[in-house]
């Protein structure tokens, strides 16, 4: 019974969250805190914090976390499955249609309009992360700027432009430097 509830609850989260993790958050809260009381509000806040500290989409992280706490690893599996099933069905159907009909002129035109938008949206996401990386203490100003972070960014960017290093190597490297800076303080 609890498995069914977990599955159905996260199925709805997966089905109705358009536009990435932050759109999914209120949906998850509604299901997990208000509707089923699986987590208290402070626990939910913890969950969001942990989701941001660990890899993976917020919806999947939440499904695993809540499932695990309510019904162990089986619960985590079921909730995660529920969460990705809508994607599998809808995106699967779209993939089928896209690979079959992508040659049609109208589809080509729509995609031609979407490509520059996607680049813009990736850039906008970058700006959001940059604000949290450089001005984590709140308020964007010169005195408030985290110059170490800024320097780290510039160095990483230059290396990426000049050398064809694995970007994950760059991320791990800047993370390690962040850790070293912490110890030197």
């Amino acid at each position: 019974m609890i498995y069914l509830q977990l599955f159905w609850s996260f199925f709805q989260v997966g089905l109705f969250s358009f536009g990435g993790g932050y759109a999914a958050m209120p949906l998850i809260q509604q299901q997990v805190v208000q509707h089923y009381s699986w987590l208290s509000m402070p626990e939910f806040t913890d969950l969001i914090t942990i989701s941001q500290m660990t890899p993976g989409p917020i919806a999947i992280n939440s499904a695993t976390f809540v499932g695990m706490r309510i019904a162990g690893f089986g619960g985590a599996l079921i909730a995660t499955l529920g969460c990705i099933l809508p994607s599998c069905i809808i995106v699967g159907a779209l993939a089928f249609l896209y690979f079959r009909y992508r040659g049609i002129p109208v589809i080509q035109d729509v995609l031609e309009g979407l490509r520059p938008a996607v680049v813009a949206l990736i850039a906008a996401a970058g700006i959001t992360i940059a604000v949290s990386a450089f001005w984590s203490s709140g308020g964007i100003s010169l005195t408030n700027t985290d110059w170490k972070s800024m320097l780290l960014f510039v160095a990483a960017f230059v290396v990426l432009r000049i050398k064809k290093w694995d970007p994950i190597f760059i991320m791990v490297g800047t993370g390690a430097i962040g850790g070293i800076i912490y110890f030197m303080r």
């Binding site: 969250s17 536009g19 990435g20 993790g21 932050y22 999914a24 914090t49 942990i50 500290m53 660990t54 890899p55 993976g56 989409p57 917020i58 919806a59 999947i60 992280n61 695993t64 976390f65 695990m68 690893f73 599996l77 990705i84 994607s87 995106v91 699967g92 779209l94 993939a95 690979f99 002129p105 109208v106 035109d109 729509v110 995609l111 031609e112 309009g113 979407l114 490509r115 520059p116 938008a117 996607v118 680049v119 813009a120 949206l121 990736i122 850039a123 970058g126 992360i129 940059a130 780290l152 970007p167 994950i168 991320m171 791990v172 490297g173 800047t174 993370g175 390690a176 962040g178 850790g179």
Partner: protein, 189 residues
């Protein structure tokens, strides 16, 4: 057969590896996927990567999972889609399962926070690098509509916080309209 198995294995290890390092939302995995699958493995063109991203973004659910389904399908059909879903979902599933037991210690650990903060600078650099390359290509096409869409979508999203779905709909419609007018103009000439 052996070649196919090798393809499946590369697909799984790549998606698993990328997913394990995707901190901070769906748009972080897209630049990583672009570098891996377009630049390194040459499995698809940059243009198609952007097409797949647009579809992933317009569909419900996590962008990372949606993109994985489309990429996997493109590379190895339905089996490929299943494999890349598995590769994408496993890292967060395993990590969160392990963490859910003792998460407060992790959450309050200063060193973890310092490492993650350093990592953010690296993530911004990766995104900046990919946006630079892709943005340059769009500008180089010298199509006014494309450049307008890119700048407009950025301002709408970043400054005016317009709903993502609205931006996607508007840009898709604009693309269809210009394509229609272009073809009409070509016919009359």
């Amino acid at each position: 057969m052996k070649k196919k198995l090798k393809l499946y294995l590369t697909l799984f290890t790549s998606t698993f590896y990328l997913s394990a390092f995707t901190f901070g939302g769906g748009y972080v995995i897209i630049p990583l996927m672009k570098k891996r699958f377009v630049d390194n493995l040459h499995w698809l063109e940059e243009e198609e990567m952007l097409n797949l991203t647009a579809i992933a973004q317009s569909s419900p659910g996590a962008v990372a999972v949606n993109a994985a389904i489309l990429l996997g399908w493109r590379v190895a059909g339905i089996v490929g889609a299943a494999i890349s879903i598995l590769g994408t979902v496993l890292p967060p599933l395993l990590i969160l399962s392990a963490l859910s037991v003792a998460y407060t210690a992790f959450r309050d650990n200063q060193l973890v926070q310092a490492v993650l903060h350093g990592m953010q600078a690296g993530i911004v650099a990766v995104i900046a690098d990919v946006v630079w390359t892709m943005g340059q290509k769009i500008v180089a096409q010298k199509k006014a509509v494309s450049i307008f869409i890119m700048l407009g979508a950025f301002v709408a999203n970043c400054i005016f916080k317009v709903n993502l779905m609205l931006i996607i709909l508007a840009c898709g419609a604009l693309g269809a309209l210009t394509g229609f007018l272009d073809r009409k103009g070509a016919k009359q000439e």
